[in-house]
């Protein structure tokens, strides 16, 4: 448990580390939005008082150590399989709150089958999906979500649509399934959008609490290291390059 901050009688505590976030350093790069996403999820878990009921399924990618950073029971799935593990956990323990935290390589490439079928079945789980258009952990290879023309370590001349097709729009794809209760896309590139992202994350967990079905929040994220940019440039890149390709919005919101 995180220690309670010490404040004097005439002081008002207005911000503290969420209880759902572990008191430790993360390994994320400067300018990486994983840190922001972690904090938003942790704040939501605290606000909804879900921490003690929650089980996290971490995935393979830069966030592979998410089980160290969140102060909840957690397990580590093989690459792409987190929605299947989450299905097993939730089916046997419907009273637990189960969420996965996945990157675009994990969810939209190797894990495409598992996430689509979990959504199709209407599994009552929440997916926090970080889309930074690249395979970060392994050094910046092209992902199914990379933009046409985007230079990556496995598309050094820029992604060529004729050879490797077009970026996958997961929030839209998942929204088309009847089992999906909530599928939205937000961004983490500035304070205003970050606050909107937090609201969406909260709604997603509320959907699970209400037993409405599958919920997913796609978060446009930065990878300054592999994009070869400064943190500031990468946030601009999200706003100017990613959002035109990946429009923000609500693709499915159940009543």
């Amino acid at each position: 448990m995180n220690p309670t901050p010490m404040i004097a009688p005439n002081e008002l505590l207005v911000y503290a580390r969420p209880q759902s976030l572990s008191d430790c350093y993360t390994h994320y790069c400067p300018g990486c939005t994983h840190g922001v996403a972690h904090r938003l999820v942790a704040e939501v878990l605290d606000e909804l008082n879900l921490r003690e009921r929650t089980i996290l399924v971490a995935s393979v990618g830069c966030s592979v150590f998410a089980y160290n950073y969140f102060n909840v029971d957690a397990c580590e799935a093989p690459h792409g399989r987190a929605p299947a593990m989450a299905t097993g956990i939730k089916r046997v323990n419907p009273h637990n709150i189960v969420f996965t935290y996945q990157g675009d390589g994990d969810l939209a490439s190797i894990g495409m089958g598992e996430v689509m079928h979990a959504a199709a079945r209407g599994e009552n789980i929440t997916i926090i999906f970080l889309n930074n258009a690249t395979y970060g952990m392994t050094g910046g290879q092209m992902a199914p979500t990379s933009l046409v023309g985007q230079k990556t370590s496995s598309s050094p001349l820029g992604r060529d649509a004729a050879m490797t097709g077009y970026p996958l729009h997961m929030a839209e794809l998942l929204s088309g399934l009847a089992g999906t209760a909530y599928s939205v896309r937000r961004s983490l590139h500035d304070a205003r959008h970050t606050l909107q992202a937090k609201k969406a994350i909260r709604t997603a967990f509320e959907m699970q609490l209400q037993g409405k079905g599958f919920s997913v929040v796609e978060l446009l994220s930065s990878c300054p290291t592999n994009w070869g940019m400064t943190p500031d440039q990468s946030l601009t890149w999200i706003k100017e390059q990613m959002i035109p390709v990946y429009p923000l919005g609500d693709f499915k919101v159940s009543e």
Partner: protein, 376 residues
């Protein structure tokens, strides 16, 4: 309870239910689909968890997730599906999470066919996935034994926090035999102290197989190897032997091949030949000690399998090649007949009368099949 006529696949499923299996995640594949279909009805009937996954890959990960929360959980598949699950097996054993897997083996490799085989022996006992590990493997030879060993599988998995396989060939899965089911056990409600249940009033728990530091991972591997060695030394090896006391030649076989070998043994005995049968019930831990003891009285072993020779090498290793080990096998889903085994035994015994002829015969067989035969 009285005996009922039951199909192997169904008997295994009901045995799992009796053992307290809380969740079944599976996928259709011949020749074990009846197990899935039975569970689809029975688990729902008992208000337990059943789900047909979208693939074997998904199924094993659902098992992993549920098992990480401390539930008794299983899946079943056949050879090509088992291959798909191997990633999951490696993760499950690396994280000390218990689970039961049923493999109803079919002809391979590749898509193969849907006929019975024993072609997954090596896969299960030696290379159930990447890295240094292997599961406990139980090999029933009848529908009754399938029931008993399935229940044992859940107990062993929980006791040692590891993966336990129930391995049958397609014939056992499909055949119908009279068998008795033990009484229903209660499903356990309390969870073990390592399970993920939600961190209520306690520190969080993590179930993972990732250990980034080399010395950290080496330590984890040493602990796993220690656990496996402990299982091996803890009297978990099981076997059955028939007429081995005075046997000159002992047939070594498991599953359906053992039943065929048993008939051959009885025929050969009627001819006055001193033949016995040693039937491993645990493929791992392999009953090496007892088999090795038998080489002090017998002078030849004949391993009979429905594959190209897999348990053969475990037999040789178990006895340190102390006496000659011969092999007879059929592949492709063909079940050997007793007369084929009898013919092979006659051949071996006739050849034994003439050592030179035997040496020549062995060399020519080696050239033909690439199998190694020992010189007497």
């Amino acid at each position: 309870m009285s005996k009922k006529l039951m199909k192997g696949n169904v008997a295994i499923a009901e045995a799992a239910v009796i053992a307290g299996c809380e969740a079944y995640f599976g996928y259709p594949i011949t020749p074990q689909t009846e197990l899935l279909e039975y569970m689809a009805q029975r688990m729902i009937e008992l208000d337990r968890v059943f789900l047909q996954a979208e693939s074997e890959v998904a199924a094993i990960n659902m098992v992993y997730g549920a098992a990480a929360t401390g539930a008794r959980v299983m899946t079943s598949s056949s050879s090509p599906g088992i291959s798909l699950m191997q990633e999951g097996f490696s993760y499950i054993v690396a994280s000390d999470v218990p689970a039961v897997i049923v493999d109803v083996m079919r002809g391979g490799p590749g898509l193969g066919n849907i006929q019975p085989s024993q072609g997954d022996y090596n896969q299960i006992t030696k290379s159930a996935g990447h890295g240094d590990f292997h599961p406990i493997a139980l090999a029933p030879a009848s529908v009754q034994e399938s029931i008993d060993l399935t229940i044992l599988a859940f107990d062993l998995a929980e006791k040692y926090r590891t993966l336990v396989f129930v391995v049958v060939d397609g014939a056992i899965g499909q055949m119908m035999e009279p068998a008795e089911l033990p009484p229903m056990r209660e499903v356990k409600k309390e969870r073990p102290d390592w399970a993920l249940t939600g961190a209520v009033g306690r520190e969080k728990r993590v179930i993972s197989s990732l250990f980034m530091g080399a010395s950290e991972l080496e330590l984890m591997n040493q602990e796993l190897q220690t656990k496996l060695a402990y299982i091996q030394s803890n009297n978990e090896a099981r076997y059955e032997e028939y007429l081995t006391d005075d046997a000159d030649l002992i047939l070594v076989a498991f599953g359906t091949a053992a039943r065929v070998a048993q008939t051959a043994m009885q025929h050969l005995r009627r001819e006055g030949l001193k033949v016995g049968l040693f039937r491993p019930i645990t493929l791992w831990p392999f009953p090496s000690q007892r088999l090795s003891q038998l080489t002090h009285t017998a002078n030849t072993l004949l391993v009979v399998e429905m594959n190209a020779g897999q348990m053969l090498y475990d037999v040789r290793a178990a006895i340190h090649d102390r006496i000659p080990v011969h092999f007879y096998g059929r592949m492709g889903g063909v079940i050997p007949m007793p007369n084929e085994i009898e013919k092979k035994v006659h051949e071996l015994m006739r050849l034994a009368e003439n050592t030179d002829e035997l040496k020549e015969h062995q060399l020519s067989i080696k050239a033909q099949n690439g199998h190694e035969f020992l010189r007497m």
